[in-house]
Amino acid sequence: MIRLTRRPILPALLALAFAAPAFAQGEVNLYTHREPGLIKPLLDRFTAETGVKVNVVFAANGLAERMQSEGERSPADLLLSVDVATLNQAIALGVTQPVASPALENVVPPHLRGTDNGWWAVSLRARAYYVSRDRVKDATLTYEDLASPRFRGRVCSRDGLHPYNTSLISAVIAHNGEAGAEEWLKGVRANLAKKPSGGDRDVAKDIAAGLCDIGPANTYYMGLMAKDPAQKAWAEAVRVILPTFRDGGGTHVNISGVVFAKHAKNKANAQRLVEWLLSPAAQAIYAEQNHEYPVLAGIEPNDFLKSLGTLKADRTPLETIGKNRKAASELVDKVGFNLGPQS
């Protein structure tokens, strides 16, 4: 793994040394819904290799709306988001442009980019189930199993309306239809041990504290907890299961991905950054530091992710996941998921 990340540096440094006078200029402006600390090592490396400065502004929501208000004078070149629905929303607001890039088309499989190349995935995030090591013995589970009566009073979850959960529910809708998804969500609600609250890591924490036995959470939090001495105990009480769908569908993955701004002033540099993010070196950093799955074929996930077993990603088009989000939010509402086990 380390070799993978290091190998391109030497040629890159050489290139930088020789090309610096010609290329050590220019910048690219990145609006990001992604926590900047997680991508900073990548951006710093990009700048070191290319001489292109990356200017960043982060917000949890609302950057597409900002681009809309900025209009054609917007400084944004790229918008990076942690969720495909947000990218689709930016496209719907008319603040993006598709980009034809043979380099990108060669490495990003069709189901990981938007219709007409409207958006591009740069890494994958799997929605898993955290289960108690002691109290849940199943080797595998389906997403549908979470609604099974045997988990009555044993499920923890964060807010049902959080994008990570609406995204999972969107996938359940894609596989089971809206009526099936409603039944499922009703079952999950009935199984809740407590009212939804906290974040993904609190699922592990609550399982470790014995408050519940199972709950949905993203895989990479587990990798982060294992590294933190104060949180190791939570991580050790918990196993990660990569569930699949009963109809044969694989594990639900969402993406972190980018759209190109309609009025990008530094479009060439933006394209260069995205191409770089999808280079083997950068993809390996994604896997190694953030515990995310690479988009690029042939890059191995890191040891932690490998220990979870092979990821068999669901093939439901992400466009569909994005489109189902409204229905998913309405289901959470209709079922009263956030009200907890009893209202």
Partner: protein
């Protein structure tokens, strides 16, 4: 209008008009957002959404009770009694103000849940709880949210009550004592009635903060109106519906502000103009003294000392594991600069509006409208301002200037000032109300014009009130998130945006150093605040 111009200085009126336009603009932006086609009808809420409304009201009621009861009773105790530790507690009770609500929620849960140090200590002392499970009730619940928000927002009520008791002090309280009132009777028959305007004014601020909160209540598992609004916007792509619901919420707040307008225009402060010495403090002895000490110490311990210590230990652990990045110092400088400039803008604007109101009698509702900026869910306010800022940009572009307002510090400052202007106008009005109106008349007889009157008479009269307002705005700005986050220029980070970005990724302890600095800076400002009172 012409009469206004003729009777009162053109400059003052013009300044008032420009400011009025700027104050009203976000409201127009909100109306524009509400008028867009959208699906959600704010009057046809689903059962779950109604539940969120219900929980929001329960939360507000709980926070009102906690801040109201604790705020007024602690202020009373430190004002009229003497007991061990009183001097320290009197100052300490303003400190919870230093904690942003979302940070207080993360730290409190980290501190008190199963794996936190408190329960760890309980297990070490008493072994595991019989029957298993945690020793303490879960803070991620409605009662937990009430406790956490109530404690952090307590100073909003404590500070004005404390000022009131010390100012009205001798006259009323001593008179009542001469007539034989003692202890609880004195508190309920004298203290509580005279504190009413202060409780209302402070309570409204506390409630607006609670209503506006999204991060803390979501983390604590409380359904809130703010979360419903965000759900409509983000998940259902229905910005107009979100804006309509926010508009409804603003109307509700407007009704709240109408409850007792006199409370905020300083009806009772007017009689408090004489700065007599504080009331004589009656010493408490024995159990009563101990009870008073404990009662006042508890909010300081739970609302500030313990969480600050815990945050400090988290920051230390994190510092040990990782180096401080160079950008921390830049973020600190940005935070201070932002806090100072916003508080300056807000108090200056607040003063001009208050003076224009007083001399022209115009703009009478501007103060209330400014208050609504504080009340609107902050994210919605910012989204409402974006088209307005876009319009200003359009105008700038038509003038041929190569200048982009949105995404510049100017736009961010404007949004922050609009958000907190209510504090400035309230404080300026309170201060100005203490100056009898016949002073103006006398000054005019001596030939002072409007501008001279404003500069030579009103400005000095307002100044002390403005210092209080400036400190409050400074603390609020240092803690502020949505406007700073969404409108800041590229590469501009404050301590709050850095801490929040970690917390939003579920890694709040990675921002512990930044968080600790936010608390430290706000606490220092809060201490200045308590020195003034």
């Amino acid at each position: 209008m012409t009469r206004l111009l003729r009777r009162h200085g053109i400059l003052l009126a013009a300044a008032g008009l420009v400011l009025a336009a700027l104050v009203v603009a976000p409201g127009l932006g909100l109306l524009w957002r509400m008028a867009q086609p959208g699906a959600a009808n704010p009057f046809a809420l689903s059962a779950t959404q109604m539940h969120a409304v219900k929980e929001t009201f329960q939360l507000l009621l709980g926070v009102a009770l906690v801040t109201g009861i604790l705020g007024v009773s602690t202020a009373w105790l430190v004002s009229v009694h003497e007991f061990p530790g009183r001097r320290w507690l009197e100052i300490g009770l303003v400190l919870p103000l230093a904690f942003p609500t979302y940070l207080a929620a993360y730290v409190a849960v980290d501190l008190f849940d199963f794996f936190g140090p408190v329960q760890g200590m309980l297990r070490a002392m008493f072994g595991p709880k019989p029957g298993g499970g945690p020793w303490l009730p879960d803070l991620r619940s409605l009662p937990g949210a009430v406790a956490i928000l109530g404690l952090v927002l307590l100073p909003y009520v404590y500070i004005p009550c404390r000022i009131l008791f010390s100012r009205t002090g001798r006259n009323v309280i001593e008179a009542a004592r001469l007539l034989g009132a003692r202890g609880a009777g004195l508190f309920f028959r004298i203290g509580l009635p005279i504190a009413r305007p202060a409780i209302l004014a402070g309570g409204v601020l506390a409630l607006l903060e609670a209503l506006n909160d999204l991060g803390a209540v979501e983390y604590l598992g409380v359904s809130s109106l703010s979360a419903v609004i965000r759900d409509l916007w983000i998940n259902r792509n229905d910005m107009a519906g979100a804006a309509r619901l926010a508009g409804l919420m603003v109307l509700l707040v407007a009704a709240l502000l109408m409850i007792d307008p006199r409370a905020r225009t300083g009806e009772s402060q007017r009689q408090a103009k004489d700065h007599t010495t504080e009331p004589r403090r009656v010493p408490l002895a024995g159990l009563a003294a101990l009870a008073a000490t404990l009662f006042c110490a508890l909010p300081v311990l739970l609302g500030f000392a313990l969480p600050a210590l815990h945050l400090g230990s988290r920051a230390l652990a994190y510092l040990g594991a990782q180096q401080v990045d160079s950008e921390l110092f830049a973020a600190m400088a940005s935070t201070l600069a932002l806090g100072l400039s916003v508080s300056l803008i807000v108090v200056a604007t607040g003063a001009i509006i208050a003076i224009a109101q007083r001399t022209s009698g115009g703009f009478s509702r501007l103060g209330t409208i400014a208050m609504l900026g504080y009340a609107t869910p902050a994210t919605v306010l910012v989204l409402a301002m974006m088209p307005v800022i876009g319009l200003i940009d359009g105008g700038v572009a038509r003038l041929g200037l190569p200048f982009l307002f949105i995404g510049s510090s100017a736009a961010m400052l404007y949004a922050l000032a609009a958000r907190f202007l209510g504090i400035g106008t309230t404080q300026a009005n309170l201060a100005l109300a203490r100056l009898p109106t016949n002073v103006d008349a006398v000054a005019r007889i001596h030939g002072l014009g409007d501008m001279a009157l404003a500069w030579r008479i009103h400005r000095p009269a307002i100044a002390p009130g403005l210092k209080l307002g400036a400190l409050l705005v400074f603390i609020d700005t240092v803690k502020e998130l949505p406007a700073t986050l969404l409108l800041r220029p590229l590469n501009f980070e404050t301590l709050a945006t850095r801490a929040y970005s970690k917390a939003s990724a579920g890694l709040f302890e990675h921002g512990a150093v930044d968080s600790l600095l936010i608390v430290a800076i706000s606490a220092m400002a809060a201490l200045l605040l308590s020195r003034r009172s």
